[in-house]
Amino acid sequence: MARKDPRPQVNRRKFLAGVAVAGAATAVSPSPDVANAATTATSLTGPGRAMPSAQRPSAHVAAVETATPQALPRAQTPDGSDFMVDVIKTLNIDYLPSNPASSFRGLHESLINYGKNTKPEFLTCTHEESAVAMSHGYFKVAGKPLLTLCHGTVGLQHASMAIYNAWCDRVPVIVVGGNELDAAKRPPGVPTFHSAQDINALVRDFTKWDDTPVSLQHFAQSMVRAYKIAMTPPHGPVAISLDAGLQQEPNHSNGERLYIPRYVPTSPPAGDYGAVREAARMLANAERPVIVVDRAARTPNGIKLLIELAEALQAAVVDQGGRMNFPKTHHLSRPATVIGQADVIIGMELSDYWATVNAWIDNGEHGHGLQESRIKQGTKLISISSVDLNTKANYQDFQRFQVVDVQMAADAEATLPALIEAVKAAIPASAKAAIEKRGEALRKAKVEGRERTLATAAIAWDASPISTARLTMELWAQIKDLDWSFVGSDRQMSNWASRLWPMEKHYHHLGGPGGYGVGYSLPASVGAALANRGTGRFSVSLQTDGDFMYAPGVLWTAAHHQIPLLSVMHNNRGYHQEVMHVQRLSNRRDRVASLGKTLGPIGTSIEAPDIDYAKMAASMGWWSAGPIKDPSELAPTLKRAVEVVKSGQPALVDVWTQPR
């Protein structure tokens, strides 16, 4: 690989051109100086020869060291990073959220000048974790991956938690880490500390694939291969280590014309025909079949297919919420409690089948919890999951081993057409009346369940701190007439939005981080809002305070790049999950939890002083308001915030809330 000169005073392109010229000259007719030097070296290493401490420079060397250098001709070939931009542009990647770094300066310069900063457009990020999480959120709306550049190694270390979230959430992100690979040419000082033999080793346990291209042609193949692997279900992150020297290497053909492989999507794997038929037979003959889905609907068509399957069976559907799988308004959409009544369960793209059919209670004297089955004895289990094709050993993003009766290592959405056809064919004519009756019972249960939910939402309606149900419905009142997209998570707010908002479209609910790495929600919501920008959709998020504080600089990115988003804070002033963990252990050990000067056990609260999130947001270019503690102030404030976001700007409303 060609390497760059570490001396900062040398113009790099002139230097490289000079190297090229000198190299050619050497090959044809070595200069007397080179020949002399070689001879001298040979003789000096001979036996019995004294080693002088220094040699007199030759006339040529002396001239190079002391004379004013002549202008060297500019290389006629473009730098390698221009070719890299050509490669990237074939992949139709819209944005490149990144934090700038010297190890990819060659590519950076080519992207914004040669590539005109379009397809992809560079988005300035203040933290690599935010950049990757933005890509994560973007994909779940747009269905397309983004490319993120990271500084190796420290930038990739920053990015690693967000890459892990993407791995667990089966989301493709393409991460390119700059690296000064050649230790002999590596600039001294900071770049040395930021280089490694194999930067991809940092993230290899939770990426689908990685590579270290050593030529421009290799880069072209690696990028297209990386994109293809990331986008083949099960989706996942990929990493490329990109040598800094390769970016600045002149684009030589070396007698072989560089080419860019054409990207052709790979068909996702569908379930085995025999297994599909067996699953269909079991479902068609079940008395109480239940469909459980987590990331089954990869695309909007996946939602339609799930409706078709559920309606054919009049089976209850439990949506675990990794994606927007099934309309919340449908009469077959039911809570997880129906699992206990099932005689056949089909799980599709579940994060964890064991935890779907088993309960774990964090109690008991031995300190490691109690296990209980959620299902009746004899319940048959079917699984369709592409994750079975891509499990790794180190990181434990799976639970206890669950025995399943029919298990297909396949993509659920790709398998659904065959399964629906097989189910329809397998339903006996004699069963149709019972199936219809089952549907009617579920419709009645749906209505009754909704009334209970609304009655529960009314409790503590006027409380301060504000109830999470009240906040959710005050927000709903302001956005219900818009083409809204919920780009945050309501998991920490008793799932009120999922329970009360009519979520039906794929962008109505995007699921969580996957790996539960805190710090995902704020940047992912900005990335999802970016994907919604220009579509006419209104992006809205419910944002927790603990997550917010990991990398709030993404607020500036949203303002700088004019990404409209309404972020409403669920500010319960603590790491609430941990509040309860410490309380639980205190009780178990018969101790009163020490609160210090806060409401939660020491070390779990975010109070004293209270963080002013509105001021933070305002300082980074957002319209903002709050903290709001009186629920009667919510409506007028949210109304103003909605108008700001509709004008194209981001807005934040800080609200002091109940814990969950």
Binding site: G364, L454, W461, S467, T468, D590, P659, R660
Partner: protein
């Protein structure tokens, strides 16, 4: 549960039953509100006992709390998602005050009278 813990749990339960409804009625709702925060009840149940599907299995403590005897027995001996509060952590007086606080929480409005919930 170990033998010692069983004995302690039963003893606590007996004390709870002995204090009974009378003690609860004599207790202070104001003190109970403070104890509800101090001992971390609010963490899972919310400051008004409204609960959460995530942290209390959807269970609502107030209004209309369960009878004191059952309440005290559950708090002292639960082996479900809620950790037990034995007397070493929560005194009988504090427990009675907390119950009084829950009793003092008024009924919410019918959701059908709340415009945002009337659907």
């Amino acid at each position: 549960m170990s033998g010692m813990r069983v004995k302690r749990g039963l003893a606590a339960l007996a004390v709870g039953l002995l204090i009974g409804q009378g003690a609860a009625l004599a207790a202070s709702a104001e003190k109970g509100k403070a104890a509800f925060i101090k001992f971390g009840c609010w963490q899972c149940h919310g400051t008004q006992g409204q609960g959460s599907v995530v942290t209390s299995g959807g269970k609502v403590l107030a209004p209309d709390p369960m009878p004191f005897e059952a309440f005290a027995a559950f708090v002292r001996t639960t082996n479900r998602a809620m950790p037990p509060y034995r007397e070493a952590v929560l005194s009988n007086e504090d427990l009675a005050d907390i119950y009084a606080y829950l009793q003092s929480i008024p009924k919410p409005a019918d959701y059908k009278t709340i415009p945002l919930l009337k659907q």
